[in-house]
């Protein structure tokens, strides 16, 4: 679901084909019939943006028919926990949970707590939302204290136990409702439910694969939650052949969240300190975990102090909180979209773009380009002169007069980058596996690796600021910048070694994160990567052929944490530590030797017996019971219900996309009541019911990739062998829509939203089919988003069609679904284009308030004052 794996991940898809050859049934649930569908056993159509309704339907089917893996669910999830009396569900409040504040469009999460748990304060809901702190819970999961005090009902019959809450929450997600909301015919939906349950349980497991078709929505985090709930109910987590597979956007995107390029995270999913909230290390650590919290996150102080030691070396001492005060702190939303709007508003002066082409690849391309046109300086490091380096002279705004090359104030510095074959280092892929790449050829001319660029930038900044007495320069002065250098090039392996952790007393490379200390005696650049350089060996560079080792190929690359291939694999064994079945065995308790063993590295304290009950008052790993497989969670259990951690609700609920042609059939609340809308004149939204004039943009627009091109095209539109395979921007429509709008195969058409008009060649295909949603026919339109104004093949920027509205948990933009219209013929140019768009907005009655009534039942408009008029 939400993945076109054959096209976007063809290399990984070989394993799906191999599984299919061995008898696995492959089901592809997607708005389009893609190359993935062509190879699947079944293709199940769905309206873009309704996956939670579908998954909620699956949950309802499981619970109504008693198809859950009862033993697993009772023991390994929080199904038996009793939710507090104050909690009110979306069923009671027409689409809102208890604790909603319409003024800030956020939740006070206190009423979501379990009965009997400690009264820990989940914090200020609106700050939580503005800083995307949900994301910062990261690998540890949100904190929870006094877990032993939580009221439980192992019979799962208590009316307020999670199992029953779940049952009521999804009771109306019937096959009929799924058909009404998703447009998926009932029979096909039930076929999926039956196939999924038939392939789960003791003897079988089912895997769920998703990609950016799930993540780029205004309710994105809850999509994944919904998938995880299904897999937990079916016992498909922590077991071989099970799991929820997040296929990442491109090479090493997993790596770029592990060691993040995000404003609110530090390596290993440790949160960035908040200004005013975390005055010192103690306050930060207190906020990070509950007092005496169960599980390995309790030891996050060791992970964090080791990170500070790696950053600041000898300048990190117990006396100065290990340099805690030298870290930057955040005080609000500094996400990429907020930053771009701040550029337009003149609040940002410089910008580094490294391997990113926002002029083409980010939602609302025009906003991106106008922002970049209002800087003092812009550094672009890329393989070729991408649109984000040339927008000031050949972007679409030059044609409309909105950017004038002669007067554009931004000074652009272009640095040629070394490609992936011209540098060494690691890729971390979706299985969390680090694989080392050798340098195949020397980079040409001035091309340099990112490592080289940032190392020398840091070195020069340190030189420049060495004599400064300004306290703000202190962090740079105290930064330990002492990586091994070979000639001019810093050693990537030395950086990896430092990421992997070092015992500072002996200089020994650490072998696991359990060796990290909070007393400053260890340094580790990313605690989850600890051990990647164990024994002085680059573990990521191991390449032992699969036929020379065991089934889990533990000597190929290195997987975090601790080289485990399957996370939470204690769940692959039953309560007594025996595999659920011989067919699906992975790790098990070896009573003879008193340890966990198996084909994978056990993800559990190695000698903790399955019947272990901790001493009262034990904390951290010592507090784990023998049947607590989810060792990072504060209660050791898989979370069906999330009392803390998510901004937009403890359970996933179906909300319509920000722009939708139809009313939410399930609740009065139309869209995600906590979504961030950035309602400004330069970020208009198409109206969605119950607002008037939604009919101006009657079709559902979705965008995705082609196999033949790479994301924003910088790596493919310049290459003749790839450019010739998909030479032009196309828009795929069904024959029915082609008739409705008079579109001819291969003819020109333009797709319009309130933001932009994009011209493309029409491809009429049976692979697109209209759906029946409620009493109307909904047409879906698809476009690949790879084109821009430079390269061998050029075209309009599809992302210009999308506005900026983001999920409140992780600030991902909703770029997989919007509404649009399609018109035959070429689009207007220059001033005519601006006039047409203004006319369209007038016809649709669009103002900044459009789409900004985040809570449908409350007449509160979440608009922003700033921002110029949309031209």
């Amino acid at each position: 679901m939400g993945s076109n794996m054959a096209e976007a991940h063809p290399v990984g898809f070989q394993w799906v084909m191999e599984a299919k050859a061995r008898g696995a049934r492959v089901i592809h649930i997607d708005p389009r019939f893609t190359r993935t569908s062509a190879l699947a056993d079944s293709h199940v159509p769905i309206r873009a943006g309704t996956d939670i309704a579908f998954l909620g339907g699956v949950i309802n089917y499981l619970l109504q028919n008693g198809q859950e893996f009862r033993e697993y669910v009772t023991a390994y999830t929080n199904a038996s926990f009793v939710v507090g009396e104050e909690f009110a569900d979306t069923e009671d409040l027409d689409g809102l949970f208890s604790g909603y504040d319409p003024e800030t469009a956020s939740y006070d999460r206190r009423t979501w707590r379990f009965a009997g748990g400690a009264g820990e304060d989940p914090g200020d809901g609106s700050r939580y939302k503005e800083q995307s702190e949900a994301l910062q819970s990261g690998s540890g999961g949100p904190s929870l204290s006094n877990v032993d005090g939580i009221e439980r009902d192992p019979t799962l019959t208590h009316p307020r136990c999670v199992f029953q809450v779940l049952k009521r929450h999804y009771a109306r997600y019937t096959p009929e409702m799924v058909e009404r909301v998703c447009g998926t015919p009932r029979a096909q939906f039930l076929d999926v439910c039956q196939a999924w349950t038939a392939n789960s349980g003791r003897e079988r497991t089912g895997a769920l694969v998703y990609s950016v078709g799930w993540t780029q929505h205004s309710v994105a985090a809850q999509y994944i939650r919904a998938g995880a709930i299904v897999q937990l109910l079916l016992g498909n987590i922590g077991r071989p052949g099970g799991g929820v597979y997040a296929l990442r956007g491109h090479a090493s995107i997993q790596g770029s969240t592990d060691i993040p390029t995000l404003f609110n995270l530090l390596p290993g999913y440790l949160p960035m300190p908040s200004a005013g909230v975390h005055p010192d290390l103690a306050a930060y650590l207190d906020d990070l975990r509950a007092e005496c919290q169960k599980g390995f996150w309790y030891h996050a102080d060791a992970y964090f102090v080791s990170l500070l030691k790696e950053y600041f070396g000898q300048h990190a001492t117990a006396e100065n909180d290990y340099g805690f005060g030298l870290l930057p702190a955040i005080n609000g939303d500094h996400g990429t979209y907020r930053t771009v709007m701040d550029m337009i508003d003149g609040k940002v002066s410089g910008y580094f773009l490294v391997g990113q082409n926002p002029a083409v690849g980010s939602a609302h391309g025009k906003l991106q380009r106008l922002g970049m046109a209002n800087l003092d300086w812009l550094v672009v490091r890329d393989l070729t002169m991408i649109e984000s380096a040339t927008f000031w002279k050949d972007g679409p705004e030059v044609e409309t007069g909105e950017i004038v090359p002669e007067t554009c104030r931004t000074e652009v510095f272009f640095f040629p980058a070394a490609s992936h074959v011209e540098k060494e280092g690691t890729f971390t892929q979706t299985q969390r596996m680090l694989q080392w790449r050798e340098k195949a050829v020397e980079p040409k001319g001035d091309q340099r690796s990112e490592l080289s660029f940032f190392y020398h930038l840091g070195r020069k900044l340190k030189d420049r600021l060495a004599a400064s007495a300004d306290p703000r320069d202190e962090p740079v002065q105290k930064l330990a910048w002492d990586y091994a250098v070979d000639g001019d090039e810093p050693s990537a392996e030395d950086v990896l070694r430092r990421i992997g952790g070092v015992d500072l007393a002996t200089g020994r490379d650490l072998s696991a994160y359990t060796e990290l200390k909070a007393d400053g005696s260890t340094a580790c650049g990313c605690w989850i990567y600890c051990g990647v350089h164990a024994d002085g060996v680059n573990q990521a560079a191991r390449r032992k052929p699969h036929d020379e080792q065991g089934p889990y190929e533990k000597e190929w690359g290195w997987t975090w944490p601790a080289n485990r291939r399957v996370l939470y694999n204690r769940a692959s064994a039953d309560l007594e530590g025996r595999p659920w079945s011989e067919r699906k065995k992975l790790v098990w308790w070896d009573a003879g030797h008193g340890e966990w063993t198996g084909d994978d590295v056990p993800d559990f304290p190695p000698t903790l017996p399955p019947d272990h009950v901790p001493e009262p008052g034990a904390c951290g790993a010592d507090a784990l019971r023998g049947d607590d497989p989810f060792i990072m969670q504060a209660d050791g259990k898989g979370w069906l219900f999330a009392p803390n951690g998510l901004v937009d609700g403890p359970l996933p609920s179906h909300y319509e996309p920000h722009e939708s042609p139809v009313r939410n059939a399930l609740y009065g609340q139309q869209g995600n009541p906590t979504r961030k809308v950035y309602a400004r004149k330069d970020n208009p939204a198409n109206p969605a019911p119950p607002e008037a004039h939604a009919d101006v943009f009657p079709y559902v627009l979705t965008a995705a990739r082609l196999t033949e091109h790479h994301t924003a095209g910088g790596m493919s539109r310049q290459l003749p062998y790839l450019a010739e395979l998909q030479p032009e921007l196309t828009v795929e429509v069904s024959p029915e829509l082609a008739r409705e709008r008079g579109l001819a195969h291969l003819g020109l058409a333009h797709v319009v939203t309130s933001r932009a008009a994009v011209e493309a060649r029409v491809v009429v295909t049976d692979r697109m089919a209209p759906l029946r949603v409620e009493d109307r026919i909904v047409h879906q339109v698809w476009m690949p988003y790879h084109w821009g104004s430079s390269g061998l093949v050029r075209g309009d920027v599809v992302n210009d069609l999308f506005g900026v509205v983001v999920d409140p948990n992780v600030f991902i933009q909703e770029s997989k679904v919007a509404t649009c219209d399609v018109r035959s013929g070429p689009r207007p140019r220059g001033a005519d284009l601006l006039r047409m768009l203004a006319d369209l907005r007038a016809r649709a009655g669009i103002t900044p308030a459009t789409g900004a009534r985040v809570a449908t039942a409350h007449d509160i408009v979440h608009t922003e004052a700033a921002g110029p008029e949309a031209p």
């Binding site: 062509a38 079944s42 062998y721 450019a723």
Partner: protein
Amino acid sequence: MTNRLSGPLEDVAGDAGHRDHPARVGFFTDTSVCIGCKACEVACKEWNAVPDDGFDLLGMSMDNSGMLGANTWRHVAFIEQARPLGAQQPGLDGLPTGPSGLPATDSAVARRLQGAPRGGSELGTSPLPDDAVPVDLGMPAFAADTGSRTDLRWLMASDVCKHCTHAGCLDVCPTGALFRTEFGTVVVQQDVCNGCGYCVSACPYGVIDRRPNDGRAQKCTLCYDRLGDGLEPACAKACPTQSIQFGPLDELRERADRRLAQLHGLGVGEARLYGRDPDDGVGGDGAFFLLLDEPEVYGLPPDPHVPTRDAPAMWRGAGAAAATFLLAGVAALWGTRR
């Protein structure tokens, strides 16, 4: 004595004079697992330094290469059909869909092809003329909401030079530029080819073609240089799903037979092998295929045969004609004498 002009031939390399040669190798392309990623096309061009073939949107589903030619040695065909594939469920049942759009798209593409100077043989090589707004001729595709689509399948298949047992191109080559390698494959030597073009018309599959800018004939070499180094051809190496399988031909044929039986067992009755049979018109192909429809659907000839198959008959005909002329001449002379 073996028939060296057509029919089965046990040892093609030996027949060409190679002694102690390795086993004959080839490709088995199993189109039922092709995901249409076109990695084969790109890997082929990268390894063999084949130039690009023009940037034209053809409108033939996802296929923008068009056909095999001098600058395209691997070509992935994409075929959308309004019919089911084995037991696959395309999921259109019950949707408010109207009739298939295929006739409309076919006619749009066909009109462009008809308007092309070389009748479409330049597919993927130079831009085809753009079509004007379609005219509603009252064809079924333009009719109102009648009927509904319930079936759809999307076939993908990577085509390549067949490296025939009896290769027409090789037989007619006057310069010896085309030769049979020790691996049983057929390769053009660029430095020998004089660009006469006889091979182009002799190929029963329309594979070999002359490069527009220098006139020399070009086609797949089955990566002769890589074979010499013990490597598999670039396309097979790049194929992620083992749709393109490389190996000794005997082994590939066994594998193909097993796969065919498996698919038939799974209810994919339309699966068939193409070019597998040593008794066919070219003595069997070195590169053969598992197809899911008639060969014509993929742009392959249904009954290819090497021109030399007809040589004995032609020579017999020519001989008879010559004899007749001779007799007539003698008779005429004889008549004159009288």
